[in-house]
């Protein structure tokens, strides 16, 4: 598969601070790939997006789109000519244009009929048929979000970037939107970068995940890899609670709660722990334990694991646990 979008040694520093926003960025996406960029606030996710679209210029390095160098020491292609779509965090819908006009804004070069056909199809896809003449302030939050996405899709860009596209939605809607958007993107075979806070988004939609920390890429890999084998506390913490396991050589490992099991105290590799607290999460009981040998738990000193709701525990009692790096059958 050909490389669709590539960052080579890209770095950017905002003049206001001397701390670089992003540095040493080397990233390449294949055609049709969905990459999720995750990281804490200020880690540089949005900067990378803006660099890709052309709303910022890189200080060093090159950005290559397909076969064209679109940004580099001797190259510059402005956003309107890159053919990269961007879905903004809050939609950025034009308030003075109605739904139809918003949608067709990016495909103004097509004939009227072609434009109409595309509009109808896209609106139907996201359940907005019949609302062509409405204005953005007359739509609900979810409708606005969907409109923002199809508006960026209308010109059928080769690459599309989504900046927290599900930001304002409630959880139920969020879930449905994830499904819809994923299938849309896959159908269009677009290369995608998705920026999100929500671990659920990235795990559900992306083919690959890149973790950004302080402007650098900490780790890339499939969702599975990142979830199961995070390289650092930071990476681990982005996707949910993680337990720190220190092995004999002092190396730290990150283990998810569902990878810790209660076993018989006689089992080999069983580690003695004491129950600190527990609470219900609806699906199971989450238990916080402290291993006898606190050094095993690193700085955190606490492990979390899940038990079946039927399994009873008591505070202060001892249980033995072991961990399994692979998925529980």
């Amino acid at each position: 598969m050909s490389v669709s979008l590539e960052f080579r040694e890209v770095a950017k520093c905002y003049s206001a601070s001397d701390q670089p926003a992003v540095q040493d960025i080397n990233l390449s996406l294949n055609e049709g790939e969905i990459l999720a960029l995750v990281g804490a606030s200020g880690s540089g996710k949005t900067t990378l997006l803006r660099l890709a679209v052309g709303l910022e210029t890189p200080d060093t390095g090159q950005i290559i789109l397909g076969e064209r160098i679109v940004a580099g020491p001797a190259h510059w292609v402005p956003p309107e000519r890159r053919g990269i779509g961007l879905v903004f965090q809050d939609g950025a819908l034009f308030p003075h244009l109605n739904v139809e006009a918003n949608l067709t804004y990016g495909i103004y070069k097509l004939s009227r009929d072609e434009g109409k056909a595309i509009t109808e199809r896209l609106l139907e896809m996201v359940g907005l048929s019949g609302k062509e003449k409405r204005y953005p302030h007359e739509l609900s939050g979810g409708e606005r979000q969907r409109l923002g996405i199809v508006r960026a899709l209308a010109p059928q860009p080769r690459v599309i970037l989504l900046d927290e596209p599900f930001g304002n939605l409630d959880p139920a809607l969020r879930c449905t939107m994830r499904e819809e958007v994923r299938s849309l993107l896959v159908e269009f075979k677009t290369t995608v970068i998705l920026v999100t806070h929500d671990p659920g988004d990235s795990l559900a939609i992306a083919h690959r995940i890149a973790v950004l920390c302080d402007g650098r890429i900490d780790q890339t890999g499939t969702p599975e890899e990142i979830y199961r084998n995070p390289k650092s506390e930071y990476c681990a913490g982005l996707f949910g609670p993680a337990n720190c396991l220190v092995d004999d050589s002092g190396k730290q490992q990150w283990v998810r709660p569902d990878q810790l099991f209660v076993v018989n105290e006689n089992q080999t590799d069983a580690i003695e722990t004491r129950v600190l607290s527990f609470h219900q999460t609806g699906r199971h009981t989450e238990v916080a334990v402290r291993p006898r040998d606190t050094a095993l738990a690193g700085d955190q000193k606490v492990w979390r694991l899940y038990l079946e709701s039927t399994h009873l525990v008591e505070e202060g009692s001892s249980i033995w646990v072991t961990w399994n790096p692979f998925r529980k059958e």
């Binding site: 910022e56 903004f88 034009f94 103004y108 204005y135 508006r151």
Partner: protein
């Protein structure tokens, strides 16, 4: 029934709305007294209709359209280019472009009238070559053209200020979105930036329209009879006040229609995008030819509206410096300043009171009162003066017996102050209303829930957030009052001169060159004030 009324009153009526209503009505009284004469058709109305009325209306409309169009052409490209790009001189242009506001139209008219004189040889040549018809066409084009250019170049800052605020605060996101959807600079400007700035443009544009309509000096000079000139001619020349008032009413109708038309055309589209403020934007650099083009766009209105008139004034002042300065001059200067500062302070406070009261009780009748009280801006200065005089005269007749005439108001400086309030309320109310609406309502609610009363909330929460807006309102009123001529002349106490009246007297006497000195001082004071606005409002992103 009474209980319901009582409850309603207690809820809706508090000290704030009471004060607002009272003040609003007081400010309305002068205009009201003038409007009373509107009742019957004056004796000369038919005569007016059959002779000059259509000419007045035509000239007024023509001038309004031409000047507003040209002012928009001056203001909008420059405002946009400064908000979006980085090019040689853009930082200076940003605030310097407001300076023409400090120049009174009549002063600029003196300067520009030179051109009509200088153009006479050219016109004579045209007459020799193309005969009377060609000459007449050329003469009219030249005259109306110069008048349009001069008025547009002095008034465009009204549009420029609003446009620039709008473009700068426009959600960067929308412009970026437009770019990512494949539209280049020009396309984005016309399809997104410009439409979104529409409310601001209308606001600034309506100020221009009113200034054009109310102008008396420049149009008189250039021999373009407008409705305002008709008002005075009918009132004094024909002695028919009623017909004169009808003409004034016609003016209001024209303004009203223009505003209505714009509202209707807007339809359901919204032009404000209530997003959070964007970070200070990075400006795109322009180099070479493009940069020069942008610089040119800014230089043209600046030169026509400020550099050229000021340059001419400086030359004149240099020649006549010694003749003008006398010991009284400093006194006149002081008069100008003190009057303007005090009146501007009062007007800003009134605007704050009105705006806050409406926020506390967003009921229609309260909003209407504050809106109508601001109508004084649409009336010519002399009309306001007469209304005020009649009111004060009546008051004086009532208090004449008290204290042996000690409380007579006629000739008191308070009278001029009052007249300024009637006339210029709109100038302070508009920005303060805008600023107040930008304060999130939940801030006030939070303050009240924490136990602070209405006054405390105003003082501790609203005032700090409105600081920039209040300074802007103050400065705009200050500049307008410094320039003000007709009201001051008519209502002043004896021996009272301001920079504006001094300049006018000198010009009337034909000592045009000497009138440059007070004009320049006027300009400097106004210019400094305007610079303050810019530093505080337009430049820092809030």
């Amino acid at each position: 029934m009474i209980a319901v009324l009582n409850r309603y009153l207690r809820r809706e009526l508090d000290l704030w709305s009471l004060a607002t209503v009272l003040l609003g009505l007081i400010l309305l009284v002068p205009l009201f007294t003038v409007a009373i004469g509107l009742g019957d058709i004056g004796p000369k109305w038919d005569h007016l209709k059959s002779t000059v009325l259509s000419g007045y209306v035509f000239n007024t409309l023509l001038l309004v359209i031409l000047v507003t169009a040209l002012a928009t052409l001056f203001a909008v490209p420059a405002a946009w280019v400064i908000s979006v790009f980085e090019f040689p001189g853009h930082r200076v242009f940003a605030w310097v472009l407001i300076l023409p506001l400090a120049i009174p139209t009549y002063v600029s008219a003196f300067v520009y009238f030179q051109f009509t004189e200088a153009a006479i040889p050219l016109l004579v040549n045209i007459r020799n070559v193309w005969g009377i018809e060609g000459f007449q066409v050329a003469e009219i084009v030249l005259r109306y053209g110069l008048l349009t250019v001069l008025m547009a170049s002095v008034l465009y800052p009204y549009i420029y200020i609003s446009a620039r605020a709008s473009f700068s605060q426009q959600r960067q996101r929308l412009i970026e979105a437009a770019h990512t959807l494949g539209h280049g600079l020009w396309s984005v400007f016309f399809s997104v930036a410009l439409p979104l700035a529409r409310p601001a443009l209308v606001g600034g544009g309506s100020l221009v329209v009113m200034e054009v309509i109310n102008d008396y000096g420049a149009v008189h000079f250039f021999g373009v009879p407008t409705l305002t000139e008709g008002i005075f001619r009918t009132w004094f020349g024909l002695g028919d006040l009623s017909s004169a008032l009808r003409l004034a009413g016609l003016i209001m109708l024209v303004v009203f229609m223009i505003l209505l038309l714009e509202r209707a055309q807007r339809g359901r589209a919204r032009y404000a995008d209530p997003g959070h403020r964007s970070k200070p934007r990075t400006l795109r650099k322009l180099r070479g030819l493009q940069g020069a083009f942008a610089t040119g766009l800014c230089l043209i209105p600046l030169t026509l509206g400020f550099l050229f008139p000021t340059g001419q004034l400086v030359i004149w002042a240099y020649r006549s410096w010694g003749k003008v300065f006398r010991t009284e001059f400093a006194m006149h200067l002081l008069n100008s300043f003190i009057l303007a500062i005090v009146a501007a302070l009062v007007l800003t406070s009134i605007a704050l009171l009105f705006s806050y009261s409406v926020k506390l009780h967003p009921v229609r009748w309260l909003k209407s009162i504050t809106g109508i009280a601001a109508l004084g801006y649409a009336a010519p200065g002399a009309v306001v003066a007469v209304g005020v005089m009649v009111v004060i005269g009546s008051l004086d007749r009532m208090t004449a017996s008290i204290g042996n005439g000690a409380f007579l108001l006629s000739g008191n400086l308070l009278v001029i102050g009052f007249a300024y309030c009637v006339r210029f309320l709109a100038v302070s109310l508009q920005p303060v209303n805008g600023g107040m609406s930008r304060i999130c309502g939940s801030l006030d609610e939070a303050s009240r829930s924490l136990g602070r009363g209405k006054l405390a909330t105003l003082w501790h929460i609203n005032l700090p957030l409105l600081r920039g807006t209040l300074v802007a309102a103050f400065t705009l009123v200050f500049v307008d009052i410094l320039k003000e001529l007709p009201l001051t002349m008519i209502l002043r106490p004896t021996n009272f001169e301001t920079m504006a009246t001094t300049a006018f007297s000198l010009a009337k006497e034909g000592r045009i060159h000497e009138c440059a000195v007070p004009s320049l001082i006027l300009l400097a004071a106004g210019g400094l004030g305007l610079m303050a606005i810019d530093r505080l409002i337009l430049t820092p992103q809030r």
